[in-house]
Symmetry: C2
Subunit: 244 residues, 2 copies
DNA sequence: CCGGTGCAGATTGTATACAATCTAATTGAC
DNA sequence: GTCAATTAGATTGTATACAATCTGCACCGG
């Protein structure tokens, strides 16, 4: 056994297509009710329809697209309400991670958090929004990880990824980066003190503010810009009404 | 427009296969590392490999199976640790639902909760485990719904469904049904009092106890039964280690 | 002029065919 | 006799072909 290369993982298959489509949807490359044409995507990716279909199946499970049986798949961009709801859940998930982490976090991880914050500070000084955005994500992921609950970590990362593009926007608000950094410091303080409630509340507020700022920003856009009056393309399934 | 039949949804396609496979996995019809053979499943469902493959793609997103690029898909039954983690998250999700619901719940929903509890009581009196199991689920779903957050409701239902088979087991413990019902009453009381923290804590504890009882039961099985020493079939990817 | 029927094009869903890769068994060498 | 390499079978991944359904327009009748 010279070099087992534990997972040489033959690079992969074409659910790279799924990743690509996911990114494209996140990037806002498609509007809310757009139909994703299999054939079009197939030639766009230089493959046949088969891998594209499989990718679309995956996306439909994630809720990024909706599949209407004999019609096609349609992208599902979250509306303002859904977005608010997702941010609310994100805040609670982060709070839980923080509560758990306050008890379980290692000194090493605490140092990593402080280091991430230093990099954030640097980004603030340089006005580097992208840099802040990046190291901020690091900061939060460390906390997810230190919750000591892999499943929770996964879920938190999943939702965080989904909200990523929307989180990014609010950082551009004047003074938001510095404020965010201050909130990070409060989180680290509570974690250092092994204060579960403190850490949880600090993180919940931190995310809740993001949500607030984001919506504030969106409203200001709507006020001065054109009314977005999106002709929502017949959402296939609104809510699961169920009569008990 | 006589009868638009809003969703005549040609109720077909072969992600019924996905549903079926999901149920089969939940039912424990497959062991942990089992490979799901496309061809076998195809003839089992009377179709070609194509729909089966699409179903498997979906399952892989849900995390019920793991896909190893050129080898096949393998069922992923949660181990004891993962299960504990999932219950822990479930407890926290329920707690959040309870906190939200305490403020937002309607009187009508409160009545529904009491009604569900009556049916639970009846099931306890009759020793009807299945009945209790069913109405218990109703009880919890009402609370999810009353959180006033559709996204949260969805997530809670998703995880609840995943844990369903494991939750069921612990009900068979002596006196567990009655205890569970008492906990339900405490939840309703807190919700009636519009006490967010009380409702959250009551629900968290309620679920945490389920977890505890479940593991207690599993351990007793292991003690008297054969050592399960499952030769875990090389979990494809343990954790995503990432060096920043 | 308006509404319904039917047909043509297009698109999704399924089946089959083919290429690439992996598994494992046989065979050969040390 | 044991270990390694090669080769045959099986299985996954992709492409293509075909069937079923839907969309929209033209045509026809009232």
């Amino acid at each position: 056994m010279t070099m087992n290369t534990p997972k040489p993982n033959p690079p992969k298959r074409a659910d790279q297509i799924a990743k690509s489509l996911e990114d494209m949807i996140f990037q806002g490359e498609f509007a809310d009710g757009d139909r994703l044409d299999e054939q079009r995507l197939a030639e766009r990716f230089g493959t046949s329809r088969t891998p594209v279909r499989e990718a679309l199946q995956k996306l439909s499970v994630s809720g990024l697209v909706a599949q209407i049986p004999q019609r096609g798949v349609f992208v599902q961009q979250p509306g303002p309400v859904e977005l608010m709801e997702m941010f609310e859940v994100m805040a609670e998930l982060e709070a839980v991670c923080g509560r758990f982490a306050a008890i379980r976090i290692t000194d090493e991880a605490l140092d990593q958090l402080r280091h991430a914050n230093q990099l954030c500070q640097q980004a603030v000084d340089e006005g580097d929004t992208d840099g802040y955005y990046f190291h901020n994500e690091d900061f939060h992921r460390i906390i997810y990880s230190q919750s000591g609950n892999r499943f929770l970590e996964q879920e938190a990362r999943r939702l965080s990824r989904r909200l990523r593009p929307f989180r990014r926007i609010q950082l551009r608000l004047r003074g938001r980066m510095r404020q965010s950094l201050d909130e990070h410091l409060a989180v680290v303080q509570a974690l250092t003190d092994s204060d579960p409630e403190g850490a949880g509340n600090a993180l919940r507020d931190h995310v809740a503010v993001q949500n607030e700022k984001f919506h504030h920003l969106m409203n200001s856009f709507e006020d001065r810009g054109s009314a977005p009056e999106k002709a929502r393309a017949e959402r296939p399934e609104g809510g699961s009404r169920r009569r008990a």
